[in-house]
């Protein structure tokens, strides 16, 4: 039953003239689907044929076995349609793990340690075979085997194709089966995992049951030795945790522990760890009262902001306080969206950890000198998986103990916190929507009057600063947003600078409000 205009439109859409005139090109769909299916299932076998033709020795035979078209299962007609990697379903680990070679090894760094059942396992897989650095070699492809209790229960969901680094695109779509490069050979691997439960009759689940599995990663690498082509089969074993498809947070993105060293944060902030290069900028005014929000907000530079807002979502933002190189406090983010944000009141991280475990480090957040870091958990939009973590900092900050008279004042500090928190959120939103004029007006909400930060767009309320605070939104040049909140002699100026200026952002707008 149609309950709203969009529902009605969806009901009507199929009867519109365009829709009635539309016909499915059945034959084209059928051919395209068959071609795509064939590419998926035959890709690995095609590579194997090349190796068999040019290689010597038993490795090629072994490779062929790994990459076969798939065995004839109980239902031969069905099994023949299965990609070759499923042929290893049900085999014992000892039968599928390549024999260890003293001079060769496979290195996974970094590699996914946890993923949703329908997500991708990603890793940089480096093959070293103990030959001179100027020798050239190539990787035929990477295979994944999910093992539990010594038996293969899952395989990679896709052919074991070589990583050709986008060269095919440069060559106009030409098929490339190998890329020759000096050792060590590193391949970027992104593969889903498929359960063997569905093999060979297609009746079982295609996804792995949540849990922790052994994961065997294997590659066949070739190089030209003194006596011709040499093929080496490499393998390594690790573990992987499969969560349900809703993306339960992975261990890799658990909160940084109380008492962790700043070295870990420095690593996350380093350009080596953050090759996407979205450096994090922050404005820190230097001092904050103990128990108050940190006087800082973060943003990312223009190009990076475009990348963030277009391609990534921010899962979490956290401010961490370190002293003498040790994490002692953290602060959550205020606000929910966008490439800018502010962080709130830093808490002694031991209090948070005590709820779930025995804290192993940390210290009370009294007055004193600290370093503050920002840690961002990010994930590509519309992608599954735990995402990844980067950091910025450190920036120095001084926490000042609240004067006794103020601490014992007539009003609870929660009001101040609320006002500042809401102002932070409003300032953040003002940046995000700076293509719209900014307005700050006194408005009634319920029975009280306070500062509403409001867009002229319908329904565009951004935030609310409750009485008895008053304040204003100031826009100086279209790039800067300030929210000022005041109560008696206390004035908090919260400023966030937009790092990119949308083309329709007003050159200047200013408005004020009062109680």
């Amino acid at each position: 039953m149609s309950e709203n205009p969009i529902s009605r439109a969806l009901d009507e859409a199929g009867d519109e003239p365009d829709a009635r005139a539309f016909t499915v090109p059945v034959e084209l769909v059928r051919r395209s689907a068959a071609k795509r299916r064939a590419l998926r299932s035959a890709g690995a076998a095609a590579v194997a044929l090349v190796v068999v033709g040019g290689a010597a020795g038993g490795v090629s035979a072994g490779l062929n076995a790994w990459r076969g078209d798939g065995p004839a299962g109980p239902d031969g007609g069905v099994a023949a349609d299965w990609p070759g990697q499923f042929s290893r379903c049900g085999q014992a680990l000892d039968d599928v793990l390549p024999a260890p070679l003293s001079s060769a090894r496979l290195i996974l760094d970094p590699a996914t340690v946890a993923l949703p059942a329908d997500g991708d396992w990603e890793a940089a897989v480096t093959a070293e075979v103990g030959v001179a650095g100027d020798d050239l070699g190539w990787v035929w492809g990477t295979d994944l085997l999910v093992v539990r209790d010594g038996v293969v229960v899952g395989v990679q969901d896709g052919p074991s194709v070589p990583d050709v680094g986008g060269i095919e695109d440069w060559l106009g779509g030409a098929a490339i089966d190998r890329v020759v490069a000096p050792f060590p050979l590193t391949a970027d691997v992104t593969l889903g995992l498929a359960s063997c439960d569905q093999y060979p009759d297609g009746e079982g689940s295609p996804t792995l049951t949540p849990g922790t599995y052994d994961l065997v990663v294997a590659q066949t690498v070739s190089y030209l030795g003194d006596e011709g082509q040499v093929d080496v089969r490499l393998g390594t074993q690790t573990t992987v945790t499969v969560t349900d498809a809703t993306g339960v947070p992975a261990p890799g993105l658990q909160p940084i522990a109380c008492g962790a060293t700043a070295d870990e944060l420095a690593h996350l902030a380093s350009p080596e760890w953050n090759p996407q290069a979205f450096p994090i900028e922050a404005e820190v005014t230097g001092e904050a009262l103990v128990g108050q929000p940190l006087p800082m907000a973060f943003s990312v530079p223009a190009g990076a902001a475009d990348f963030l807002s277009g391609g990534l979502e921010i899962l979490d933002v956290r401010g961490l306080l370190t002293r003498d190189g040790v994490v002692g406090g953290d602060a959550e983010r205020y606000g929910e969206s966008g490439p800018t944000a502010a962080v709130g009141v830093p808490q002694d991280c031991r209090a948070r950890e005590a709820a779930t475990s025995e804290p192993e480090g940390g210290f009370p957040l009294g007055g004193g000198e600290y370093d503050v870091w920002l840690v961002l958990d990010l994930r590509q939009l519309n992608m599954d998986g735990p995402g990844f973590r980067v950091a910025g900092g450190p920036w120095p900050v001084t926490l000042v103990d609240r004067p006794a008279a103020e601490a014992g004042g007539s009003q609870p500090s929660a009001d101040e916190d609320d006002a500042r928190a809401l102002a932070y959120a409003a300032a953040e939103s003002a940046v995000l929507r700076c293509e719209e004029p900014v307005d700050g007006t006194a408005a009634a909400m319920g029975t009280s009057t306070g500062l509403a930060l409001q867009s002229p767009a319908p329904g565009g309320t951004w935030g609310w600063v409750p009485p008895p605070w008053s304040g204003s939104v100031v826009s100086t040049d279209g790039r800067t947003r300030e929210v000022r909140v005041q109560r008696g002699p206390r004035l908090a100026v919260l400023r966030i600078r937009a790092t990119s200026r949308p083309p329709t952002c007003p050159a200047s707008s200013r408005s004020t409000s009062s109680e």
């Binding site: 009605r8 499915v24 084209l28 519309n382 953040e428």
Partner: protein
């Protein structure tokens, strides 16, 4: 419900549900040509993966999900262009006017209104309001956290209601556009 072979399911969809699939894709994309491509891509994605066939209703459900995925994939690719296109032109920022042959139907009004939304907001609005899916299911289909869906939904409703009138408010949808998170 009996299963059909993949071939039969494709034939049935093409014969009986082509218009509905096109309408769904058209509402998502707001563009006839894009809708045609989306339906075709959705069918290819679905029928290149199946080996066992479908129950008829399942087939359409799979294709709709594939259309949604194809639409979101395309939107991600387009995002970079959107961010620089103002450097080249300003005229295509505005939603295209309805063509003369378009009847003044609710679908046309809604399609024009939806063009004012970002791709993610549009997809959320169609799934939540059009298909009446709960937020959790929308999040699952789009691969987003529920909080992200609620945010998109709130933004979409704020933009659509002045044009389309009141939309149902989900019980779990935020009631204001910005809700600061309390840390204490």
């Amino acid at each position: 419900m009996s299963r059909q072979t993949a071939e039969d399911a494709l034939e049935t969809l093409a014969r009986e549900r082509a218009g509905a699939l096109f309408g769904y894709a058209y509402l998502l994309s707001g563009n006839r040509d894009a809708a045609t491509d989306l339906v075709q891509e959705g069918l290819v994605r679905t029928f290149s993966r199946t080996r066992r066939g479908f129950a008829p209703d399942d087939a359409e459900r799979y294709v709709r999900r594939a259309i949604l995925s194809a639409y979101l994939d395309g939107a991600r690719r387009a995002a970079r262009w959107v961010r620089v296109r103002h450097l080249f032109t300003s005229s295509d920022d505005e939603p295209a006017a309805a063509s003369p042959e378009d009847a003044a139907t609710a679908a046309v009004d809604v399609r024009l209104a939806l063009l004012r939304l970002s791709p993610a907001e549009r997809a959320v609005a169609v799934l939540r309001y059009g298909e009446d899916l709960p937020v959790a299911e929308v999040a699952s289909r789009m691969g987003l956290a529920e909080g992200s869906v609620k945010r998109y939904l709130s933004d979409a409703r704020r933009k659509l209601e002045p044009l389309l009138g009141p939309l149902p408010e989900a019980d779990d949808e935020p009631t204001v556009a910005v809700t600061p998170r309390r840390t204490r």
